[in-house]
Amino acid sequence: MDPVMMKVLDSTMVSICREMGIVLMQTSYSTIFNEALDFSCAIANRDGDMIACAEFCPAQIGGMPLMAKSVVKEIPLDQIYEGDVILHNDPYRGGLHTPEHTLFKPIFVDDEIRGFAVSIGHIAEVGGMVPGGFCGEATEIFHEGLRIPPVKIVSKGKDNEDIWRLMLANVRTPRYNFGDLRALISAVDLGERRMKEIYEKYGVDAVDQTCNDLMDYSERRMRAEIKQIPDGIYPFEDVVEDDGIEDRQYKIFVEVHKDGDDIVADFTGSAKQAKGPINATLGVTMSATYNALLHMTDPTIPKNSGCFRPIRVVAPAGTVVNVDFPAPEVGGNTETHPRIAGTVIGALAQVIPHLSMAAEGCTHGNFVFGGVHADTKEFFACYDIEVVGWGGRSFADGNDACDSINGNCRVTPVEVFEARYPWRVEDWVFREDSAGAGKHRGGVGYTKTLTCLNDEIIISQMTDRHKTQPWGLNGGLPGGMGATLFMKSGSSEWQTAVQAYNKNSPSKFSNISIVKGDRVQLVMPAGGGYGAPPDRDPEAVREDVAEGYVSADAARDIYGQRGADK
């Protein structure tokens, strides 16, 4: 092993992935890519192992290796040619959920495949039952849009036009989908070109050997981290509050087995798969487990398949953590992923509390909408990501209004949102006393209020934490719940989707018709607190009161701080 070469190559490949991401962001059409950055770029070897990625979405990074391996199982290497681009979004073949489109371009050197450039992106509109992909009332995969097993959309450098026509005929926004898929292809084109330059500069044998060394190094670093955790079996459980179809909770249960430098996360005992779309795929559950461990270990470990080797995931088929065909699954990657990661963190918090955090809001809001724009007469669709408060930690407060731990996405700026879609954003404000109190409080939640400016907008949502609070840790209190409220034009009363539209769930619903003047209020959950509230630094409480995060009453009654005032 040449450590200098390894460091140089690792940094170079990470830079290539970042550059791929910049190309994707700059050339895409939809706000989910160019504003929210819901995509990831990576380099894989010929076996499908991820050898490099950059600071993108943890859900996609952890899920990428399984998808890559399924591609090479379904399309043998001797049937993949230079210039091909393979597309894959199939949740039952290693995918994460239907909107997550993954593109693979082989990297040929001397007529032989050395690896793949990979881009993963959340395509905002995928057909199916609702505009925007998140159907809160789906009961089968066919409600959730077009499912694409690994297929070549580009063959030997030429578009496979039959595939393109078939795909674009099945979505509501073909122009945007075309542009966004082109952006994903541009990213893998760049990755392929850059990696060829690397192979030319250093030689095939040196690059391949160093990539193997790099994965071995990451594995050793991860094993060293795991070894410091006391051996034992650590159980934990949380729930998804409902599935949009039935009003009951679905348990996520894990036993984390730590033995030497290995970890097994066994999810046996989790609920049977739901009728509604909260089910996670195996790829999601693996990714969520990796995500939890990456949050609790040294962040400087190079992120590649090597660091995942010491971690095994047992996810029984036919449960909410490993959905079977043809059950729906779109919310598994957004809502159930952070719940799964949270159970692993909660389990290990019993022995490494200093590396843990209380529960975060655990949702992306997943507020989706579409309609025919009054100005352009063109169909629009949007997947709007909303953010949450994170959990308090042993050394710091939770992040305020930050994308849930599997996303790492940005909020679309209000100005862009209003320019692109027929809504007026009335307010976007932090919520006083939403954060779970604690020595280190949870991150603050917020409220966003929208007024419809179009003749009609069809909205759907797939969120959670409207009935169950994000849990606190080590004496910290739970965070505030979220809500979605409606005020019809001419009314002065806020109502839930259950009250206003007779839906099964206040947090998961489909195809509500909103008309001009109607208002929607998105209330996003906050994080749980860490440690007992009276132990909080009085100066921090005074600052929270001054900022409007904590009321004077709460400062007195919960934190025991008299005289704290704005």
Partner: protein, 60 residues
């Protein structure tokens, strides 16, 4: 996922009875079938499932 002998497409996904991994037809030779328990992707999964059952019995 699989083609039947008559060439018709069958949407069938076979998963490991322990870890839930998808088992491809090409991987069948390395799998372990346990009577009454199903198909396992590896001996590790057979052993893990057995240990889990033993722990459950001891705990109950």
């Amino acid at each position: 996922m699989r083609l039947a002998a008559n060439g018709l497409y069958i949407e069938e996904y076979v998963k490991c009875a322990n870890c839930g991994s998808l088992i491809y037809e090409s991987e069948l030779p390395s799998t372990v079938a346990v009577e009454g328990k199903g198909l396992f992707c590896s001996q590790w999964c057979v052993d893990w499932a057995k240990k889990r059952e033993e722990r459950k019995e001891q705990g109950s």
